[in-house]
Symmetry: D2
């Protein structure tokens, strides 16, 4: 985690940081505008926290790592909020159990907004009055907190999607989302990559998470990468040919999960009178065959690839292919909140950024030379480096300015509640 | 279930029924006045439904068993509400799982109130226009529905208590509840009952549930009944003498439950810095030693009785002792929502009615000659006649006009979330 | 528990007791003759202990309650056997978990037999040398131990049946058991009983368990009792008419169990190519329609009765009908180890004793005036008086001389691994 | 999987193969010599199969993949053994559930030995009569079967250790095992490795599993490797300094497992009156501080490394360090069945081979260019390439001639029932 130091703090630096902070905070609340109070409360699976919790937790993060540290005699907004809104930082203290966040009707939504306002005021004041000695650390922590809140903005939407999706009324998050594009996805082609020894990982001054460092060289054999993600229509063929009932296509653990949960389609698919529908943030809609398939687990992605005679790319292959390309695509700012069909004529590979996170075959682990930080910040990423797989590329609910080509997301191979999709690869 | 028939329906009969209906419906909503929207949504254990669900379910009951049957071409308020708000009537159809009622943010509270208003209008219209031919059945079903809603008024409060109690903020249901009485409970004495052959059960025209019939004769040996329920202070002595760690005091199944859930006190007790507190509908309060102990399971009641060298009364003994006494006591109408210390000088046995349901040693079963009804009404009581124990006497949240001396309530022996207390008995 | 006292102990009294002891001990071992060593070890459900455990546990009972108490400086056979072979006597000490009895390969079968021999020798010596002062207590405890071992002889067989039944090889306990009778069950008729006030329960000097006392008077309304138990053929009709898929026939808890375990027939039934087979102690055999149905739970018995428009008898009705009749029937001594078709011409009700335990509608509870004993013997029966139902009449694997008309057996309503059957009743 | 082809099959080739086959089969049975029949039956955790099952399963492997394929009109020994003794080959058919292998008393041990004898005879006959056309495939499959049986010889011992260890009698597998060495482990030192681009993986004609291929080049940064595994004494210091109660040392999933299972020491450690003991195949013994710690999970290994300020090596680093060294060490052939203290003066790194499997930080995955085989053989390794970590080096119960430096073993990070230990590494 790079930390800069200086001799004085220019006013415009303070203003810039406050703008960025306020901007991020505002987005979180705007994302909640369409919600009924009841929607803020509900949790249906341990992974999918209620919006109320997200709004409070990101606030707790600023309070804990900035206000409590740098504001003399800071008095917390409420003595129990540390317990209620700490997610997993054992070095900070005990936590209300993650799976029971939906059991708390109080604090009310109104009280959570009051908490936010109170912390916001204190943060702005802190930034405006920070001494030179503290500035670098404060600026870095604020940067981290802003990125942290952006991550939770994505989670807020995917968790909400999960929590509304189980309701038989299939409520829409927003009624005014754009209608699905009628565009047809272009045919799949293959992009060839020669053997290479690229540098992988982040370096430089721009903010990045510690798990993207250190930059290091890797050996890549030649490979081919699919020109676009797998579509719903292609995945439907997998289903129709018995993909969910043929154990030889599946990893052993995947087959166990499939049987334990009776999986027979991606997470939000519903079959009604023989036709496939998909629950989206706009409500239940007929499945669009040209959109990238999403809400599949790693196990499903791997089984699909096996069925197709291909494999998933490694995260190094993915990053090598992405290097030097402009980060642009169907991110959250586009306001669709759903993947779109790929567009003919664009520079390939299509949809590398945005739309859906792409599962890679790479287990999430430390880069060579990585060392977990000390204390609470060491818990941010490092302690999850086991049992999870890396996903790359961002999704239709990822903030674009939160994303980089070196960005590593990670999920358990059975996770499906994110916008997780499939891009195929093969050996050259 | 007594059903009357006549040749015409007098207007005042219609008005009387409508008054009773509207009165009951109003109470349900008034009970919810103190709630935040968020409180309507949350469920923490399968047994404790959210207020929103109760409000909708009792409405569904009227819609299903009256409007759908007697109103020609009745169009349900919403096609999915039958599925969402049916509790356990398999003969009506499938049900949303009980343990997942807290996963539904929609319909919103506002929509549920709209549902209520719409059904209320239709019910009033039905009563006003019912033909002579239908009247008896309609009147009886409405009576049943009213009693059903009264039962859910009690559950709404006890479930709410459960759901708020797990919140570390210990929110009060109402801030304006009366302070605990400073009254001291009188010393325990014993009331003697000679051997007898009393008639047990309900008969007559007043509404009663089918499980209170048929009235029948039983043989009772001589017994003694405690003059009042066991107090918190007395129960504390049981705890302090190691009651929760001495297996010989417990039924075998009780001991298993105790160990599985680490029980060491009644449900809502909390020990903080060596002092006992109790969560009440007025929030967390220091434990009052003179109040009747409540929120104990049958297992705890039985273990306490064993420890005290006594036993629990049978439901026949209880009803025999209660026969002929005026039904009066600390019921919901008194507005305390919590048991009070017994009052010296009153006619003994004290607190037989109201304050706390009293566990009896009687398994819940059919009275001799009882036959389960056909169809959905047969599911109301009969199908639960196994594995549960009878509790008698009503509680501080039971509506008084819902209660009779022959009233049989029933719970699993591990249940503790109701106002369940202990009255001791012994053989003469 | 009657205890006799005298001034001296006659030699023939000692001999008689030793004979009875030795006889019972021999039977246990003879029952194990057909077993392979491997059969002694396996446990498939928590309820069904391995034969090795039964052989050791009954020995532990004699060692604990006689040798350790009355033999000065008695040195236990092995210091850990108290822990390993105590079943549920918390007042004696901690116990190896019941569900894990099949995890112990040691002590070996040979070592368990050595344990038995060693304890036998010490018991015989104790009886031969007991002083007058101790005699009554020793004789009574030995009587209890003998009856206890007889109970475990039945369990040894039913547990073994359970444990072998899950093996796809369907091994027979004995290959030489008699072939099924070709007898046809007589048509069902109904025996009428007038209202009565009979005495229920045991009294007198003959050994009985404390749960059969005190003898007390009950009020019975008039009723009718079926002339014989329900047959496999009759139960098949229930299945074919959809009995297992019609919730209105079932108790609520029963329906939950059925769905959780996918019940669609009695425990040991297997459908192979459209034909019903039944696993018996003689191996897998085509289902015999004329034999009494067995291995049904209380829930199934109750659902069947509901379907048939009848009910189950109470245990008082059953005992009233059985009073004064000679205890004779298809008990273990007959050597069939399986229920037989009822026999035309015998005195009705047929098969009241032996063949199958008959579920009653009576929850297992204390008789009026019953008090649980102190210490370990109080744990024998009393602590199970909750959540279980009474079964009456003995079965084809019950030792006849262990049985009385007042005998009360008890099982959870979901239990099916015993020879449990159905006799119908109805109100007069 | 290398397959040789030729024009004729020399007799000595046949003999050589038969010798190898017979030798391996004999070892399996010799390993069982010390067992009581009861020991063959018991299973205490899903991972630890009974010896009887291992003996039958490896036989089923030969029967299924050789006899059923190459012997015309081959009649299986028993029609149900395919179902009972198939482990996880879905392409072969359904399987008796892994977690319930201890529920089967039949076939008896005697019958399993008869099964082995029968298959042995048929295999020998097949090898003696195989045609040139079939030879290469038969020879390769037999080689695979032999290696498969060797893997199960190790599992037989570790599973047995697990299954006996839970018995409070702590039975020894063999009473005649050598006493622990009194040797003192040498002080830990560090071996330096320069950055390198070594070839990793197997190539050549010698048998190896497909997961060891293809051989490929990797980039390694400079690193240091510990001169010997972590000892019990060193691990004790970790315990004493609170290693098991400090969450910051643990991976997030590891901390969850620790709390769920109350881990506070390696698997077979027992604390008795303040002193540490360890269950070994020779029974319970005082913990030897100089022996390598074993029976630790990946989570414990990682937490220890974090505590020590080091890390675990990658499997590539391990293999690079092992390349070119003679495979020698405390393997099963040495007859100790337990790790020994490292020996001063030997060439470092000490104990790279044998003693304990060494956890690496590498998730188990496919080497670049690896493709899972078709059909059943594709299920041997490939379907497990998710959620598991690689362990290297073999253990004191691994057959030495089964092992290679490129050998990759793999376990879930929570697994502890193998001889799994820790070697530290650090960045140069």
């Amino acid at each position: 985690m790079p930390r800069t130091e200086g001799l004085h703090v220019a006013d415009d630096k303070r203003e810039q940081l406050i703008d960025q902070y306020r901007g991020t905070r505002d987005v979180s609340e705007k994302l909640c505008d369409p919600l009924a109070i009841e929607d803020y409360v509900v949790q249906t699976i341990p992974e999918a926290s209620p919006p109320k919790w997200h709004l409070a937790h990101v606030t707790w993060f600023f309070e804990t790592f900035l206000l409590k540290v740098f504001v003399p005699r800071y008095r917390p907004f409420h003595p129990l909020f540390e317990f209620l809104f700490n997610s997993y930082y054992n070095s900070v203290g005990a936590q209300w159990p993650r799976s029971r966040r939906g059991e708390l009707s109080r604090p009310t939504v109104e009280e959570v907004y009051a908490y936010r306002a109170c912390v916001d005021e204190a943060i702005v004041s802190l930034v405006n009055t920070a001494t030179v000695a503290d500035w670098a650390e404060i600026a870095w922590r604020l940067q981290l907190g802003i990125n942290h809140e952006q991550q939770h903005q994505e989670l807020l939407l995917t968790d909400l999607k999960q929590n509304l999706s189980l309701n038989p009324l299939y409520p829409a998050y927003r009624e005014d989302l754009p209608a699905p594009s009628g565009r047809q996805a272009p045919a799949l082609s293959w992009l060839h990559f020669e053997p290479a020894e690229p540098l992988i990982g982040h370096s430089g001054d721009v903010f990045a998470f510690d798990n993207e460092t250190p930059r290091h060289r890797v050996l890549l054999q030649g490979f081919r990468l699919a020109s676009r993600p797998v579509t719903n229509g292609e995945f439907q063929a997998f289903i129709e040919e018995g993909g969910y009932s043929e154990p030889s296509l599946w990893l052993s653990d995947g087959w166990s999960v499939l049987r334990a949960h009776d999986w027979d389609a991606p997470l939000h698919w519903r079959q009604i009178d023989g036709q496939w529908f998909e629950y989206t943030l706009a409500g239940l809609r007929p499945l669009n065959a040209d959109e990238p398939v999403s809400h599949v687990s790693y196990f499903e992605a791997d089984a699909y690839a096996t069925w197709a005679g291909k494999r998933l790319p490694s995260e190094q292959e993915w990053e090598h292919a992405a290097r030097g390309r402009r980060v642009d695509g169907n991110f959250r700012e586009r306001g669709r909140f759903h993947p779109e069909p790929a567009e003919e004529g664009r520079k390939k590979p299509l949809q590398l950024f945005g739309d859906v996170w792409e599962w890679t075959r790479s287990p999430y682990g430390p880069y060579p030379g990585y060392r977990r930080g000390e204390g609470a910040f060491g818990e941010y990423n490092g302690k999850f480096m086991c049992n999870q797989m890396v996903a790359r590329g961002g999704s239709c609910v990822t903030p674009r300015d939160h994303f980089r080509a070196s960005y590593r997301n990670f999920f358990y191979p059975h996770d499906r509640w994110q916008f997780l999709g499939i891009r195929l690869a093969e050996d050259a």
